[in-house]
Amino acid sequence: MTKPKYLLFTGCVIPYRLSSYEISARKVLAKLDVELVEMPEYNCCGYPMDVVNHDLMLTLAARNLCVAEKMGLPILTLCNGCFCSLNETNKILKEDKKQREKINGYLKEVDMEFKGTTEVKHLIYVLSEDVGFEKIKNTVTKPLSNIRVAQHSGCHVLRPKKYVARDDPENPTTLKNLIKLTGAECLDYMDETECCGNPIIGVNEDVPFNMAKEKLEHVRAVGAQALITVCPFCHIMFDLNQPRIERAFNEKFNLPVLHYPQLLGLAMGFTPEELALNELRVKPTELLNLMKRGE
């Protein structure tokens, strides 16, 4: 079998403040024989510019897609936002001739042309579809059998259905199944598919804080010992902002939030240091103790 091979698109926010996600993702992907090629001269995916000008978002995203087309490789994203704009742009330009002509008009000015020959995949779909559950299972040497967690896939890896067209956005199972492979139990909770509110935090803090607080309450109510995410923005909302949410509502959650590859990495036998667990805002000390006891 040939090794699956992708261009890694880290986006902006991961190198800016969440290296822990990139470090752990690279570790587990290498273990799973996935080859990552560094993407030359990419730029922001365009996602936050959609509010300014739709064509700007489409063209910035398309420029990245053109780079991937030239290299003849699919793109792997770690961020739901990057996945959203790159995947959506790829589908729109493949299917809608009018849009494609318009955007290619802009791209011509930078000597590029969208041809429609690449694909965009989020980490969870690379793992579930291309690597496969069997292969992941075989790399788990330290099953986390006495740990109970909950997942937050985040909206943009599921919705809108017409562009993502993979997991069921009303009852997503991909991340749950990936979690189960680590040996940990994955608990259901109320309003699992609800958004975290992060995209509007720069405009209004009140609504996102209420949304995130409600989610943390629902996760706590079922007795989860950690929350697992696959997007830097979801992660920031629940981990980095957790102390602020605690202060705002006079609550105590103390709920560690791990990037999925950190959880998988622990089950593969990597040390917490190798997976940059020390970079988490909410320290997973108790969780790690529990894991040790399970050995």
Binding site: Y16, I23, N53, T59, Y106
Partner: protein
């Protein structure tokens, strides 16, 4: 305790209505179906933002577009509260895409009213300066190396700036006035 405000029924003046607005909107990518919204309210019921805001209501946005209340829509800060979670898009029985409509209206606010929340102006400024929406400090880039990560690729700034120019975005961003925050209650 807050004092109860006396209820004043909202009044719409006929001259505020632009009957052609809905046709204009229907031509925009993502807003094509706005005319078939039959006001069932599914979008509002399922919108996570509406649950925590007293006035953000996606159904109302669709109705206001149909009525042609353009200025009210564009000057009302509520537009900036949508988190683009696409729940409404997936749930609408008529295939209306509120998230798309909101995006078109936001683009129009920038273009016609020269208004944009400060945060997006800052992200755009960073993007035009560095190719990323955050200005990644040198210490971070140095730390990547120490952590064994490959160096970040250098964005092609010539291309990025060209894209801002040819899409007309550089011109739009130059003249926008910024809105600091938007209330939700």
């Amino acid at each position: 305790m807050t004092e109860e405000k006396e209820y004043v029924p909202p009044v719409i003046k006929a001259e505020e209505l632009d009957p052609k607005f809905k046709y204009k909107m229907s031509k925009e990518h993502g807003a094509e179906k706005v005319m078939v919204c039959f006001q069932c309210g599914t979008c509002t019921a399922d919108c996570p933002i509406a649950r925590f805001s007293e006035f953000y209501r996606p159904r109302r946005i669709a109705r206001m577009v149909q009525l042609g209340l353009k200025d009210r829509l564009l000057l009302d800060g509520a537009l900036w509260l949508c988190s683009s979670c696409f729940t409404c898009v997936d749930h609408c029985p008529q295939g209306v895409e509120i998230a798309g409509i909101v995006r078109v209206l936001r683009n129009m606010t920038v273009e016609d009213k020269n208004l944009l929340p400060l945060v997006y102006k800052e992200l755009a400024t960073n993007l035009m300066k560095t190719g990323f929406v955050y200005e990644i400090p040198d210490s971070r880039l140095q730390k990547r190396v120490e952590q064994g990560l490959p160096p970040l690729p250098k964005p092609n700034m010539k291309d990025v700036l060209k894209i801002f120019e040819v899409t007309g975005s550089a011109r739009l961003l130059e003249k926008v006035q910024t809105i600091a925050k938007v209330e939700s209650k």
